[in-house]
Symmetry: D2
Subunit: 141 residues, 4 copies
């Protein structure tokens, strides 16, 4: 029995001076941007960008975000941020994330986000929109 | 059997233009600052500030942060952010949060953070430091 | 010969942990938000809010921002930010700013911003819009 | 009469969703980070990084920052940010900046920053430190 490989995307970035707090480590809120970077890299690479979703008539706001901080990062560190698409039957887009110190390979942060679909009247879609089902058929082989 | 009332603190703030995204609602990452505001308000009000913790020899970095987005906020909204101290035997500081639209009373975001204690050599404390136990004795009656 | 007193507004705020950099002082970019806070306080107090401008058919993007850093601020400092309306014949909104340590009275930062008027087709207005002239007549006596 | 060519460095970046405001364009405060990115790219490329300066016993806080906004940028735009070292006899580090839309070549923002030297006792240096003079000798030929 074969297990489908998860669709993923990676982005790399360098920790900015302004993202570090007075303890000398990356401020915990800065990671939200790194996760968004990875999500956008995923969208760009696999054809699921905000603009594509929007052109199909939907917004996909986050409904939850869970972050686990395992090890600190400091100014100048280079990191790889990985977004892992988690398949679900629900009308949701789910990602898991890994933030890895590019030099040491250390896993510093993991996270998970859940997005739902709102139509242009800002109403929640209870069923996955057709464009999303089509996208999944095409990309999750 | 009496149930102890949770120790809480509140802060109020007004949504800034720069905290709203191109969808016209507060960007999901902006809430991390609001939660920190409430945590600081708690520290100031109940004597558990960063500086007090630091003067006792410890840092208390976040090890997890979970956010649930229930309803959007927009530019100009006034919000009340409540931090609720959650008692635990562990060497942790746990808060739950509520972000409430001050005008409508609507609960827009809930969250939970967990902090651990590091000593000045950045080593994790497995047992709650004495100053923290004393603080709890004094404040959680 | 009488000199008209400048129209001003003030806001007070407390320096957040996330606004301080690894040198232990407020990151220079954080001040942009404080200035915006003062500008919004001015708008709210004197009837020149973004929404009022927008409802009259205009955007007012910044075309320049000059900041002078004179003394640092640190975590926990309370500051007063003052926006001073600078009258001009041009189709511009000009503010000067003062960021003052509320405890010591020390002037820490001064700044100046210039905004122009764009109509809803994003075209630059060469002449001050009528609603703005009316606002000035009413408020700059 | 020969004119020395200015020392420069460039960095490229993509506009993030979180950097755009509710008008759909990059929030004016976001540019401060882009300028810092270019300044850091300069430091890394030409051996004048924060850490090098710090190891030589100095901080170099900004004392002024002037920004001119000429054209907007939107979400997804790719930009080139150029830092241009401006030689001065004074005990200062001066940069000019250009933020250019990478696709269209349009100059969107220009800026200028001035930094001074503080020693580890946070005292202002009235004369350019020797390490800085040596760096200039080596790099500004």
């Amino acid at each position: 029995m074969s297990k489908k490989k998860n669709l993923t995307a990676e982005t790399t970035l360098k920790i900015r001076f302004s993202e570090v707090d007075s303890m000398g480590v990356v401020w915990h809120g800065s990671y939200v941007k790194y996760l968004e970077d990875a999500r956008e890299a995923f969208g760009a690479q696999h054809g699921l960008s905000y603009l594509f979703v929007f052109d199909n008539g939907f917004f996909t706001p986050l409904v939850s975000l869970d972050i686990l901080y395992k090890a600190p990062l400091v100014y100048g560190d280079e990191v790889t941020v990985k977004a892992i698409f988690i398949e679900t039957e629900a009308a949701k887009i789910i990602f898991e994330y890994e933030v890895i110190n590019a030099k040491t390979g250390k896993l510093c942060v993991t996270a998970k986000s859940v997005q739902t679909f709102l139509n242009k009247e800002y109403e929640l879609e209870l069923y996955a929109p057709e464009f999303y089902l089509n996208w999944k058929k095409e990309h999750l082989k």
